[in-house]
Structure formats: structure tokens, C-alpha cells
């Protein structure tokens, strides 16, 4: 079918070539080519085709996912695809951005064996796991305990008589709860438990625990395992529970690369464990990338649909307008589009930094790790919170049709929203970053300079004399200059970090306990962290502009960057006014400038989402189709709905007719 004429016009009118921007996002034309090649491998493969998931029950979706995961593992090996990025592309084409039951096996179980198992253990477990004889998961979270690891209750008690560990779930709250793939898929789990030996608790350690019998897959005696039930999303994933009743495993099943328990029960302490920071930084960089991609998908759907949908007259007598022409619609969507681009660049920055630092780590240099660990925590929270809200805003901007599963948007939301919770609950993450910010502030206050992303705190030193006027300097803010706006954000971050640190100090003098004071300041601390992260995002977006050579692409990206920064100011005017970083008049100008930028971006909006280069299969959306033939395809989709399988639904005969007869 031909392309919808509205979309064609939008594309014809673009001021730049989307392909060039796609290369920027992919970090090079060659990578764009290779990504498409791998995507095509999957999308053209008849083995990976299946019925529309929207019409399947949860257990059917699980089955489809298992089947695709199995095929994926074979085909990856057949094709010899081994580069992590390429595997990622392949996997997200197979599962279309959804989770899959083997995620934990491939993403946690195997890597944990690599990093924490002894060579002997690797010999025993790695190849069977590699060949999926052993399918494992990583069981840390318990029903009553998530964030606070020391609070986990599962115990592993060493019995020197038999040289075994006895694993036990002593309470209901200690039942392992949530691990992906645990419910039905896995036959092994790496279980985190409090180690007891010689009568002493030695803290959390990891154990390889067989949970189902190989062959029959029946749970082993002493093991209770199952699925935790339906969720908001993640239908493909059998998140599970695991209850162990004095279940015995050999001593050799404790992961003993670092800490060890000798046969007689003697405990050997681990050396340094800073290395796990590296993994956490890596996972957070993935979540930042996910935030960018999920929000980009939502923006693509909402913006294309807004160009196809017509509604009301702007001037009487004119035909109905594309809803994308309404300022209110632009005001909903374009700041999110700018945010999606911003987060792409943050994700890329984090990944590069991680690579650079892992290089350093291999050379034994761990100095940058604590800062990186602390700061990436906040970025994970900041980007996932923004993307989470943004996806729902995109969905609601599609009106009623956004509520239909055919829009793909409900699915994107429910799949993305748990990332605000997993891998570090966002509020907790923000407070981790805050701790580092306060530490850096204290360091600066005592006259020591700090470096890296927090070096702006050094500026506070020169202003000790007038404590209330931290950020107030003669303001020559250029609202059209991104680097001037970076300065503005920098001052806001400085002022909020200082305010939080001072409030913390005031609480400390008023109260006895450090923890209580911290708690009583935590809302301020989260605000400071957010301001810091916001600054980092604006800074990284701005820095990216200088790397874009093509003038047309540069121009449109500059507008997006300005919109991101100015819209952010308009949403937090209180912070900028209160610290006297901006005047009333400047704030009014900001509002005005935002509206002008909406109009400037409007002609390129569709092309800007085209540049994300999502295949229709990735979007999974009737509203967001590249060809824009929305209505025909909505009708075709609805006809496949399970309720339409028969012309007259059985409930008519079962319930309605009898009632009518009675009344």
C-alpha cells in the first residue's frame, strides 16, 4: 500500500537527511549498516515469526518466548555472532525489546560463573550451562527484602561433618521472590544467602543451588519453586519464588573465587571487592540506553500518528488539521523527542566511559570507580524516571487509540516501568549520588578541590564570603547558546547541592543521629541529585553538538538541545528564580523561546523520529507504522481479536438470553 500522503509530505519537507543522523546515533555509518544487516537476519527469518502477542494468553506468550530464545541461542552460534553489541541487536530483534526467560541465564548466571567461580567450578558448571543443560538464574531479592542487602534472611549453614551447606528459607519474608526465569525455566540458581560457619555469620555469599531434577524437571526434595503470578507486564518472563527447606549442597557449590570456606569450616575473607562496581556501572549504562530507546519508540509512534490524525479546524472552514499542528500537542511531544536524543548521548557516554575505565581497571587503576559508581546511580534514576513519565505522555497524546494494545504503547510502558525499581530503586539511587555530592561539597568546604563531573562545586569556594549568594553572579545568560545554558544548569546544581548540604548540617546540629539527620534531609538531597543529573545531561547533549559535522543536522540538533535545556528550565523555574540565577524577565523569555522552538522543530518532527530507524516490527505499533496507513490496519488488527473468533459470543447464549427470558 502507498505511503500515507501526510507522512510523505512531512518527509519531503525535511531540512536534513535522516540517514546522517542515524549514523550519529549508531556511532558511524558502518555500524548502521551492520545493525541493519543483523536485524534483517532475524526479521526475514521465518523461524522467528509468530502470532500477534497481543492476542495470546500469558502462558502462550511464555511459550513463544522460550521457543524464540532457544532458536536465538542456536542461530547466534551458527552465525558466529559474538560482539556484545551485535548480540544485543540480534536479541532485541528476536524479542522486540521484551524480556525473555533466558535473560537471567545469559545475563547473570553465565557472567557470574565467569567472574566469581573458581577454575574447578567453571569446569563443572560453565560448559553445561553454556550448552543449556544447566539453566540458571540469579536469586537475590526476597519477598520482604530488596534494596537493603544486609537484611536478606536466607541462610547457608556449613556442616563440616558432611562438608555440605544447608540452605534454608526460615520465614515467609525470606522466600526468594522475583528472579526472572526462576518460576518454570531454570534448573539451577545462584542463591545469595547469609553464610554461617563455626557459629558465626559471615555475611552474604553466593551458592550454586540445583533446584530441579535434570531430565524430569521436577523440583528437588526440599525445594519449593514456582511462578509469582501475573504482573503489569513481563508476560514472557516466569519471575519466580524459591523456598528452601534445609536443602543440602556440597561445599564446592559456594562460589569461591574470592571468599572461601575450608573443609573444616574455616572462613577465608575475600580480598578487594571493588570490581563488582564495574558490573553495576555497566548494567546502569544499559538501563540509560534502554530509557533512550524506549522513549524513542514511544515518540516515533506518537509523532507519526499525530501527523496522520486530523482533528478540528484551526480556522473556520479549513479542513481538519493534523494534530501535530496544535501547539498543545507539540508541547507534549517535542520536549520528549529532545529528551530521547539527550538520553541516547548520555547512554553512549556512559558506555564509552565504562569501556575506558575497565581498561584502567585491568591495569589496576581503580581510582575513578567510586565516582563513576556514585554518579551513574543518579543517571540511571534520572533517565528512567523521565522516560517512564514520557512514555505515558506519548501514549496519552494518542488519545483513545493510545489505550488500545494495537498502539504498542501500553506494552512499551509496562515493559519499561520496572526499570525504575530494579537494579537499584530510583530514590535509593538518587540518594547514593547525593552522598557523593555531599562528600565532594564537604571536601571543597575544607579547601580541597574536586575533579570530574562535580568540579563545579569548586566554584563555591570563591564565594564563601557571601554564603546566601552562591550562584548569584552578574548574569549574562544567552538563551540561544547551549553552552550558556550549561552554565545556568551548573549553577542550579551548585546551589541545590549547597542548600542540601547546609540543611543536613543544620539537622545534624539539631539532632543526635547522623542517619536521622540524613533522613530528614532526604527530599532536599534527592532534589540536589536530580539537579546534578540534569546538568550532566544538558552538558553531554551540548558537547555532542560539536561532533556533528553536517550543517543541516547540526542546526536541527542545536534546536533540540536548546529545547531540552529551556523546557527543563521552564519546568523548574522555582530553582532558577530562588537562587537568582535567572530573573523574572528571563524566565518569561524562556517560556516564549520554548514556543518558538516548537514551531521551528515542527517541520522536521517526523524526520527526526525516522532517524531513530526503528523497523516496524520493532515498534509493534499500528499507529506508528512507517507508511502511516493507520486506520485500515487498525481494522485488520481488530478483526483478529480473540473476542471476534465467532460472530455471536457464547456468553449471549449462556447468560444474556436466559436473563431476557426471565425478566
Amino acid at each position: 500500500m502507498a505511503m500515507n500522503s501526510d507522512l510523505r509530505k512531512e518527509r519531503d519537507a525535511a531540512s536534513f537527511i535522516p540517514e546522517l543522523l542515524t549514523h550519529v546515533l549508531d556511532a558511524g555509518a558502518e555500524r548502521t549498516r551492520r545493525r541493519r544487516e543483523i536485524e534483517a537476519l532475524v526479521l526475514n527469518d521465518p523461524d522467528f515469526q509468530h502470532e500477534d502477542l497481543n492476542f495470546l494468553s500469558r502462558s502462550q506468550r511464555y511459550e513463544v518466548a522460550i521457543r524464540k530464545s532457544a532458536l536465538m541461542v542456536i542461530k547466534l552460534r551458527e552465525y558466529g555472532i559474538a560482539d556484545p553489541d551485535e548480540i544485543y541487536w540480534f536479541k532485541s530483534s528476536v524479542h522486540r525489546g521484551r524480556p525473555e526467560p533466558l535473560d537471567l541465564h545469559l545475563g547473570m548466571f553465565l557472567p557470574t560463573l565467569l567472574t566469581q567461580a573458581t577454575p574447578e567450578q567453571q569446569d563443572r558448571f560453565f560448559m553445561p550451562a553454556w550448552n543449556l543443560e544447566i539453566i540458571g538464574t540469579y536469586a537475590q531479592t526476597e519477598m520482604g527484602h530488596g534494596t537493603h542487602l544486609r537484611g536478606l534472611e536466607t541462610t547457608a549453614t556449613y556442616d563440616p561433618a558432611t562438608q555440605e551447606f544447608i540452605l534454608n528459607s526460615p520465614t515467609v519474608t525470606s522466600i526468594k521472590w522475583w528472579p526472572g526465569g526462576l518460576g518454570k525455566t531454570s534448573n539451577h540458581a545462584i542463591v545469595l544467602a547469609q553464610l554461617y560457619t563455626q557459629g558465626e555469620c559471615k555475611g552474604l555469599h553466593a551458592f550454586i543451588v540445583p533446584i530441579r531434577r535434570l531430565g524430569t524437571h521436577e523440583p528437588l526434595p526440599g525445594i519449593t519453586v514456582g511462578d509469582i503470578g501475573p504482573k503489569f507486564g513481563y508476560d514472557e518472563m516466569d519471575n519466580g519464588y524459591l523456598k528452601m527447606d534445609h536443602f543440602r549442597i556440597p561445599r564446592e557449590n559456594m562460589l569461591m573465587k574470592y571468599a572461601k570456606v575450608e573443609p573444616d569450616g574455616t572462613y577465608m575473607k575475600p580480598v578487594s571487592d571493588k570490581l563488582t562496581y564495574g558490573t553495576m556501572v555497566f548494567i546502569r549504562s544499559i538501563i540509560v540506553g534502554d530509557s533512550a530507546r524506549s522513549l524513542s519508540r514511544a515518540c516515533t509512534i506518537a509523532i507519526r500518528y499525530s501527523a496522520v490524525r486530523h482533528q478540528s479546524e484551526i480556522k473556520p472552514g479549513e479542513p481538519e488539521h493534523q494534530i501535530l499542528d496544535y501547539q498543545t500537542q507539540q508541547y507534549k511531544l517535542f520536549p520528549l523527542l529532545a529528551t530521547a536524543y539527550a538520553f541516547h548521548f548520555v547512554g553512549a557516554y556512559m558506555k564509552n566511559t565504562y569501556r575506558r575505565i575497565t581498561g584502567d581497571i585491568n591495569q589496576g587503576d581503580l581510582t575513578q570507580l567510586p565516582e563513576l559508581h556514585a554518579l551513574t546511580a543518579g543517571l540511571k534514576a534520572f533517565t528512567s524516571w523521565c522516560a517512564n513519565t514520557g512514555i505515558e505522555e506519548c501514549r496519552m497524546a494518542c488519545g483513545g487509540h493510545g489505550y488500545s494494545r494495537c498502539s504498542g504503547l501500553p506494552d512499551i510502558y509496562v515493559t519499561f516501568t520496572p526499570s525504575c525499581t530494579y537494579e537499584g530503586e530510583n530514590t535509593v539511587m538518587m540518594l547514593q549520588t547525593a552522598r557523593f555530592l555531599v562528600k565532594s561539597y564537604t571536601q571543597v568546604s575544607s579547601g580541597q578541590l574536586v575533579s570530574g563531573m562535580v568540579s563545579y562545586l569548586n566554584d563555591l569556594l570563591g564565594q564563601r564570603i557571601q554564603p546566601q549568594q552562591v550562584a548569584a553572579r552578574p548574569t549574562a545568560v544567552q538563551l540561544n547558546d547551549p553552552s550558556s545554558l550549561v552554565e545556568v544548569y551548573k549553577r542550579r546544581a551548585a546551589s541545590l547541592v549547597e542548600a542540601a548540604a547546609k540543611n543536613l548540617q543544620a539537622e545534624l546540629t539539631r539532632r543526635k543521629s547522623k542517619e536521622e539527620a540524613w533522613n530528614r534531609t532526604s527530599v532536599d538531597l534527592v532534589r540536589a541529585s536530580e539537579a546534578h543529573c540534569h546538568y550532566v545531561v544538558v552538558k553531554l547533549f551540548t558537547a555532542k553538538l560539536s561532533e556533528i559535522g553536517n550543517p543541516a543536522v547540526h542546526a536541527v540538533m542545536t534546536n533540540l538541545c536548546l529545547l531540552y535545556a529551556l523546557y527543563g528550565i521552564s519546568k523548574h523555574t522555582g530553582d532558577f528564580l530562588q537562587a537568582a540565577i535567572l530573573t523574572d524577565a528571563q524566565v518569561t523569555q524562556v517560556y516564549q523561546r520554548v514556543k518558538e522552538l516548537l514551531a521551528a522543530i515542527r517541520p522536521d518532527a517526523v524526520t527526526l523520529v525516522d532517524a531513530f530507524d526503528f523497523h516496524d516490527a520493532h515498534l509493534g505499533s499500528v499507529l506508528g507504522r512507517y507508511d502511516g496507513n493507520v486506520y485500515e490496519n487498525m481494522f485488520a488488527w481488530a478483526k483478529k481479536s480473540p473476542l471476534n473468533k465467532t460472530e455471536v459470543h457464547e456468553s449471549f447464549h449462556k447468560h444474556l438470553k436466559p436473563m431476557q427470558a426471565k425478566l
Binding site: S59, G146, Y241, L656
Partner: protein, 707 residues
Amino acid sequence: QACFPNGRGVNPDLDVERKAPSFSVERLTTILDEGAQNTKLRREVEKVILSDPAFSRENQYFQTPPEQYETAVRKSVHLKEKLDQLGWAEGGVISEDLGFNIHTVFKTSIWELGTSDQIAKWIPLADKYHIVGTYAQTELGHGTYLRGLETTATFEIATQEFVLNTPRISAMKWWPGDLGRSATHAVVLAQLYIKGKCYGMHPFFVPIRSLQDGSPRPGVLVGDIGPKMGMNHIDNGFLMLHNVRIPRENMLGKFSQVLPDGSYVKQGSEKINYLTMIVFRVTMLAKEVLPALMKACTIAIRYAVVRRQSELKPGDPEAKVLDFQTQQQKLLPQLASAYAFHFIMGYLDTFYSKGCAEIKQGKFDSLPELHALASVLKAVLTDRCAAGVEVCRRACGGHGYSLLSGLPSLYCRLVASCTYEGENTVMLLQAARFLIRCFGLAQSGQPLPPSVAYLSSRSFGKCAARDQADFLNPDVYTGAYKHRASRSGRIPATCPAHCYYIIVENFVAAVEKLGNEAEIQRIMKHLCDLFALNGIFSDLGDFLHDGYLSEEQADMATASYLDLLAVIRKDAVPLVDAFDFSDGVLNSALGSYDGQVYQRLYEWAQKSPANTQVRAQHGRVCACDRRRRCLWFWLMRSECPSSCLNPFLFSPSCTGEPGLQELPETPLPEGSEQAVRTGSSSSEHGWELPLFLERSLRASRASLEQP
């Protein structure tokens, strides 16, 4: 509340919260119900309904969309019969699970738009469900803008019939509830054409399905629009009409009629139709939107005193998450909003009754004001409540993501209300139009309607607060809201500002009226302060802009706000208990009255189909050469396709560990031997490790070998 599973008592962490409330929970409940009599009645109805096993919601979270639909039909039918038996008018408490919601709209539209003959003819049939109706307005390509609807009804003088048509795909009716499978009739909105001239939108009474066997009538293409984010128990549908003929008498004719000769007659004022829209909005806010936020608060706050996490002081047991300031700052403003919205609904009700009385006397003066008020409250309340429910859900961490928490379904249902009955942005723009007109009137010195009268008082000074405590003075914060609302400027922003001013002012007035209830008045005053100060804290820039608040005052307001959190924290559980939702109504593993959260989560999870569907494995093996050891087989419960063989190997290499022993092979069932395939699988030579894993493996080994 006496029935605890397995005779467990109330969780002590929740129990202790109820030990010393600063007010009588029961008293507050009766105030919320507007009278002890109402509380009693409501509880009696709930008891009768919830004790009926036919209304059990035990499986609610495990059902597929088609199952949900069937359950809704079954329950609706059962409820109808039960109410008839009992002689009751309604049994509202389980409305969430019921179908036929649009049947009511269908009836109302006949009442409001039909002639007395039409009412007499069709309403009794609808009351007895001999006909099931829907109201078909929205089209695939057209929603908000009614004049853009494309369905046509052409009058044919020769046959005295209207011929209804769906001229193109975007004109298909799309979304009406109960249309997909249930409805036999629809009130269809269509462009009326007589002798080639278009007379605009009119309502037509159209039979769409056979009353005998439920099959679509000739020329009618009708069906379900497919699964949605929520509300899958409702069969939202599509409807395509091809030369469907209905008699002339089937146009709902209270306001306009087509005479036999094709002449068109208008009569009466259609303005009264606005009233119908307003009724729907008000009812929706009171019955669906606000209760959803109250339920979410109940669930999240109860869970937040049961859930413990991290130490607040080293060595102490883990603290209740509600003791963390960040958690209070998420949940308590939602609680304050729920109360604020409860009181504004009372205000809207009074306003509405007064307006109605006037309109019935033919005075339409207050209609624009009433319409604007209902629009802006619809937009602000649905937005805030939907966002609030999501805040509550996410504040429950991982467990909030489980359907068993009750929160996802609450959100999915509620969030649809931001779109239906008037899309929120459109609602705000409509209200803005009214405000701008009033603003113009004010500037030319003309009198203003009461709810916007403040626009003409132009005493804009500065905030007078001198210390933190001053921000607990209602005059101070009401003044700030009033100032913000009356400042003209950014239009989309003005409307909510206006709305919040009304809500705050009304909350203050409601608290004052509680003079005889000192204890309740005190806690309501705290909530009112919190609601107002949270708004200032969240939109500080609006209040700082043009210097109404100074920078120091902004700090004071913030400090005052944060201190209040700790004050309200103490009464948080009694404040949600006062909403008086029974466990059956909440249907949440996290939010039940006894706080046995973990036990319930565990028990409910056992009922998940994933756990109850026992795999028919016994005695069965796969036909492939792995037989019992075929991984595909135990995962998929079916014989594997040839392509699955390769990865699923149970090689004999992993024996000797507990749990790793292989079972002795059981003999294959008869007749399946020949199915066992022979030949080698490529598994035997294994796969090479991908480069990156090999690298990591080498690196990890290398690091071990270092001293």
C-alpha cells in the same frame, strides 16, 4: 474485617499504627459518607454483595481478556437478578467488574434526546434488558471534534426511512463500550442529510443485532476492537453500516424532527444537552476517579508500614519504609489530594444542584460557568488521580508491579478517564476560553460569576509571611494561590492554577465547617495545609515569579511543608482506614486490613495458572533422541520440532552432583519407539565460545592465577 486467613491476627506493624489515632476513624468515615446512616447502608450492601460467591474476584488477575469479558457479563446478569430479588436500586460496590456500563448511557440518551413516545417505547425494554444498548459517537478517525464525524443518515421520502452509511474506513464507529459483543441496539450519531442538504449531527436509534440469535443485522458489520491496556472486561467495539434502513420515527426527536415530507423542524433548546455531559463528568469523578485514588492510597500506605527496609539507626531493626522522608513525600501528598478532592466534589455537587434547578426553570445563565467548572475539574482530577495511583504503585517497589497488588489494574482503568468524557487538553482549553472571557469582563468592570469573582479583586501585594509558621495560616497560602490564579499569562497553565485555587479555598472552608469535631478538624487542617504547601513546593517558580514570594519565604514554605510530612505520618494508617474499603473491594495482596502481606502474596501466587496447570509429563517422553531429557519437551509440553534439538542437550558430563543425577530412563510408551529419531546431532562437537565470553573467561582465569 473479622475474617483473617488461617486465623492470623493483624500484622503487629500495622496494628501498632492503629493504637493511638488522634481522631475517631469511624467518625471520619461517617463524615466521608455524609452521615452514619449512609455508612450503615453502604456496609450492608457490601456485605450482601461480597458474601455472594458469584461475585468472587479471586481469579480476577489470572484471566485472559475474553475470560474477563465473559465474567463481566455473567456477573452483570447475576447482579441484575439479585437486585430484582432484593428490590434494590443498585449494588455499586463491585462496579469495577461489570459490563453494560454504556447501556446506562444509552438509556440516558433516550431519556434526554427522545420524545415522550420514544421514551415510553424503548426505556421499558432497556430496563428489562430485552434490548442491550450502546451509545455510538466516536469514530475511528474522529473523536473530540463532533462536527468532523462522517457517518451519514440520509432521509428517503419515498420509503419514509433513514439510510445509514459508513462512507469510509475512518468513519467506522470505534470504541463504544458494550458494542463489540453485547449490544443489540445503538444510539448512533450521524450527519443528517435531507434532499442533499446536511443538517449536522443527530442521534438515531439503530437495531444492530438480531434479538433472536444475536447475529448482526443485514448491512451491519460489528465486532470487538481488540485488547486494551485495561478494561478488558468491556467489549469496546466497531460498527460499520452499509445502507442500513431505519424508520423515520427512529431519529431521537426531542430537539429536532424530520417530517414525512422531508421538512426539518427544530424545537426547544439543546443547551440542556450540556447538562447531560456535565452529569456524566460529575458522576465519573465521584464514582470512579476519586475512589481509585483512595484505594491506591490505602494499599500503598498500609504496605509502607508493613514493609521494612534498611536501618535508620545502626543496630536498629530495619525501618518501616513510611518512616523515610522520601516515601512520605511520595505518598502523603496523594492522601491529602484524596481528601481535598473529596471536599471539592461536595462543592461541585452543590453548585450543580443549584445550576440544575435554575436550568429547569429555563434560566441558562449559570450553564457556562458550570460547564467550565466541570471541565477543568474533570481534567485536573483525572490527571492528578491517575498520576497519583501510579505514584502509589511505584512506591510499592517491585511488589507494586505484581497484578496481585491490585495497583496496575487500578491504574489501567483509571488512566483511560483522562481521555474519555472529554480529552483533558481539550477540557482545559474549553475552561480557558471561559476564563479569558471572564477576565475580559473583569477588566471592563462587569460583574463575574461567583467561582471566578476573585478575578476582579485586584489587590496584588506580596506574601505577608514572616516565618515558617505563617505558612500554616490558610489566609497566607490561599492568598498565594489566588495571586497565582489571577495572574494572566500562559493559558494552558492558567486553568489548573484557577482550579487549584478553588480546591484549596474550598478545602479551607470545609475544614472550618468541622467546628464540632475538634479532633477531626485538627487532622483535616493538617491535610489541607499539606495539600496547599505541596502545591507551592511543586510549582515554586509560579509563586516566586513576579516576586509574590521572596526567596526566603520560599524556603519557609518548603520547610513548613517537609515538617508537616512527619506530623501526618503518625495518622497515615487511620486516615486510609477511614476510607473504609473492605478487603473484597480492594482485592489487593498488599493492602488488606490485616497487613498479612507476604503470606497473602505467597498464597495468591500459588493460584496462578502457571503453577496450577500440572504438566502432563508422567509417562510421556519426547519422540526425539533425547526422550525424557529433551528440554523442549518439559518446557513446551509437546514434542520438539527438529530445530530445537541442538541446544537442548543433557550430556552425561554432569553427574555426580546432588540434583544432577539422571533418572533411569523409563520405557517409551508403546508405539512411540519408531518415532525416535536416530543420527548424530551437531551437539556432540559443541560450540565455540563467542569471543567476548572467551576473553572474559581467560581474563578471569588469569586473574586467579596471579598471587
